[in-house]
C-alpha cells in the first residue's frame, strides 16, 4: 500500500450524447461534457483550478488546446496541461491529477476528453495525420491500417495459444449485450457469435464486428483530494491504484505480440492498491479490437497467459458472470471518438461504484478496474478504484 493509494477521488462525471452528433463540434463536446461533470459534482465552476485536455484529431488547436478550452469555459486554472499518449491518456490524466491534488498543487482538476470523429473526420485521414518522418517513410508504404496492426496481435495469439475467432467474437457479443442494457450506446441491437463471424473481413482475422466504432462524443470528470471529496454532491469514488507503461512507438519496435505494457501498468496499479485481480468486481478493459481485452485479462493477471480465449467464453465476462467487463458496451458498442475513447471506461467505473448502472449494474461492486491503451498497444494505463479510500 504505497504512493497515491486513497489520496484522491473522482467527485463528478459527465458525458455527452455519443455516436453521430453533427450538431456539436469538438469544442462544443468539451463544453457539454464539462457542464455535465460540474452539475454532477455539485461544485461551483469557480472552484475548478486545474484543467487537463487532449487535442482534437478533427479540429486541432495547435499549441494551446487546454488554454483555449479554459477560456471558453470561463476558467482561470493555475494547473494546466494538454496531454497526448493516445487512448491511454484519459486514464493517465487521472494518475497525474491525483498526484497534483495530493500535493496541494491545486484543489479540483477538471479532465475533459471529447472529439467528433464520426461527423468531423474522413476515414482515410486518421492514419495519415501522423506525420512523423519515420512513419511516413517506413510504415505508410505498406498500408498497415489500424485493424491490420491489431490483427497482428490476434494472429500471433491464435498461433501461439490456439485462440479462436469464436472466442474473439465472444468479446464483441458481451459488449453489445451490455450496450443493449443502456440507452446511451451507439450500437444497441444484440448480436451473436455467428453475426460476428459472418460480418465481412476487414483485416484477417478481424471481422467488421471485431472492430470498434467511429464516434462523436466526450466525457469529463473532476479529481480532488480524498479529504475534500465528501463535500461533493454524490458518493465519491477513490483512486486506489494507478500504473502506466510505455514499451514502443513504431510497430517495428513492438516488443512482443503476446504481451502488452498492460503487464507492467497492471502490476504497478495492483501494487499501489495492495489488491489482487481476484479483488476486482468489474473491469472496464480497452476494447479497440476484440483480441485486446483477451490479452489484457492475461497481462493484468485475471487468468494465465494463453488462457484469455477460454476465459471469455460462456458468459463469464458478462454482467452476472464471474468477471463482468466493459459494462457500458465499450469502444466496440458504446462509442469510440478516438483518443477520448477510454474516458468512458473511467466514467463507467465511477458509475458502477456508485450503483448507477441500472440493468448493467454489477451488484455490490466495490472495486473497479479501468484500462486505457494508446498507439499500437504502445502505452497502457491501469486505474483501480474503490468505494472507500
Amino acid at each position: 500500500m504505497t504512493g497515491l493509494r486513497g489520496q484522491a477521488a473522482i467527485v463528478g462525471v459527465g458525458t455527452t450524447p455519443v455516436g453521430n452528433v453533427p450538431e456539436l463540434n469538438s469544442v462544443q463536446l468539451h463544453i457539454e461534457a464539462a457542464k455535465a461533470a460540474l452539475k454532477d459534482s455539485g461544485l461551483e465552476r469557480d472552484s475548478i483550478d486545474g484543467l487537463m485536455t487532449f487535442n482534437s484529431m478533427t479540429e486541432p488547436i495547435p499549441m494551446f488546446h487546454a488554454e483555449a478550452i479554459a477560456e471558453q469555459l470561463g476558467l482561470s486554472p493555475h494547473y494546466l496541461y494538454t496531454g497526448a499518449v493516445g487512448g491511454a491518456q484519459p486514464l493517465a490524466a487521472v494518475h497525474h491529477a491525483a498526484a497534483a491534488v495530493s500535493y496541494d498543487l491545486c484543489n479540483y482538476v477538471l479532465i475533459i476528453c471529447a472529439d467528433n470523429l464520426f461527423s468531423g473526420l474522413q476515414g482515410h485521414w486518421t492514419r495519415t495525420n501522423n506525420r512523423a518522418p519515420e512513419v511516413e517513410q517506413f510504415e505508410f508504404p505498406y498500408g498497415a491500417t489500424t485493424p491490420a496492426t491489431y490483427a497482428l496481435y490476434a494472429r500471433a495469439h491464435m498461433a501461439a495459444y490456439g485462440t479462436t475467432s469464436e472466442q474473439l467474437a465472444a468479446v464483441a457479443v458481451a459488449c453489445r449485450k451490455h450496450a443493449s442494457l443502456r440507452d446511451t450506446a451507439q450500437m444497441r441491437t444484440p448480436i451473436t457469435i455467428d453475426d460476428v463471424l459472418s460480418s465481412r473481413l476487414i483485416g484477417d482475422p478481424l471481422h467488421l464486428l471485431d472492430c470498434s466504432l467511429v464516434s462523436d462524443g466526450g466525457a469529463a470528470w473532476i479529481v480532488t483530494k480524498a479529504e475534500r471529496a465528501p463535500d461533493s454532491a454524490k458518493k465519491p469514488v477513490y483512486l486506489l491504484g494507478a500504473g502506466e507503461a510505455n514499451w514502443h512507438h513504431s510497430p517495428s519496435h513492438i516488443r512482443s505480440l503476446l504481451e502488452t505494457p498492460a503487464k507492467d501498468s497492471g502490476a504497478r496499479a495492483f501494487a499501489m492498491a495492495g489488491l489482487r485481480p481476484s479483488d476486482v468486481d468489474v473491469a472496464e478493459l480497452y476494447d479497440c479490437f476484440t483480441p485486446m481485452p483477451i490479452i489484457q485479462l492475461e497481462d493484468l493477471g485475471f487468468c494465465k497467459k494463453g488462457e484469455g480465449g477460454a476465459f471469455v467464453e460462456g458468459g463469464r465476462i458478462e454482467v452476472g458472470g464471474e468477471l463482468p467487463i466493459i459494462t457500458h458496451g465499450g469502444l466496440l458498442s458504446h462509442a469510440h471518438p478516438g483518443f477520448p475513447g477510454s474516458s468512458f471506461n473511467v466514467v463507467e467505473a465511477v458509475r458502477q461504484l456508485r450503483g448507477e448502472c441500472g440493468a448493467a449494474q454489477v451488484k455490490g461492486a466495490e472495486i473497479a478496474l479501468a484500462q486505457g491503451q494508446g498507439g499500437s498497444s504502445s502505452t497502457h494505463t491501469t486505474l483501480i478504484f474503490g468505494t472507500e479510500p
Binding site: R127, E134, P147, L152, D204, S252, L257
Partner: protein, 151 residues
C-alpha cells in the same frame, strides 16, 4: 454554429518513400537492391529503421554505418487487409501486412507479396524482394523463401 473542419490532405495513392537528408543513403542502397540495418560503431547495436542516434548507447548516427542484411527473415505475424485504407489502395487489396523478424535481429513492418494469402503462416521463412517505386527509393517487401520451401 458554422463548423470549420481541419484541412485534410488528399493522399489517396499508395505512397512511395520520399528520402530526407537523414535517410538518403538508406534509400539509395535500396535502389541498388540492398536492405541495410544501422550498426552502431560504438556498441555494435543493430537497429531498423535508421535513426539519428543509437537506441542502445545514444551515440549519434555519424558513429554508425549502414550494413546490408541477408534478406532472410521470419513472419512474426500478419494480417490480410481486405478493406482499403483509402480509395487509392483499392487496386491493391487484398494485400498482406506483416511484422518480419530479420535474421540479423531487427524487425520491420512490411508486406508479403507474390504468394497465395491463404498459405501465409506465422513462423514462415521469407526472402526480401524490392519494389521500385521512384528514382530514389525501392520499398523492401518479402515473399516465401524458396530455398526453405513453403513454410
Amino acid at each position: 454554429m458554422t463548423r470549420v473542419l481541419a484541412y485534410r490532405p488528399n493522399e489517396v495513392e499508395r505512397p512511395c518513400p520520399k528520402p530526407t537528408p537523414d535517410t538518403e543513403e538508406f534509400w539509395r542502397a535500396t535502389v541498388n537492391g540492398e536492405l541495410c540495418v544501422q550498426v552502431c560503431g560504438s556498441c555494435a547495436h543493430k537497429q531498423y529503421p535508421p535513426r539519428l542516434y543509437c537506441e542502445a548507447c545514444l551515440e549519434p548516427a555519424s558513429k554508425s554505418s549502414l550494413v546490408p542484411v541477408s534478406g532472410q527473415g521470419e513472419v512474426l505475424s500478419f494480417s490480410v487487409v481486405r478493406r482499403p485504407p483509402s480509395p487509392g489502395w483499392a487496386e491493391h487489396v487484398p494485400y498482406v501486412v506483416a511484422l518480419v523478424h530479420l535474421e540479423e535481429g531487427p524487425q520491420l513492418l512490411t508486406n508479403i507479396i507474390e504468394y497465395p494469402v491463404e498459405e501465409i503462416a506465422v513462423g514462415m521463412k521469407v526472402q526480401l524482394v524490392f519494389e521500385r517505386c521512384s528514382d530514389d527509393a525501392a520499398t523492401p517487401r518479402f515473399t516465401a523463401d524458396r530455398k526453405s520451401g513453403r513454410k
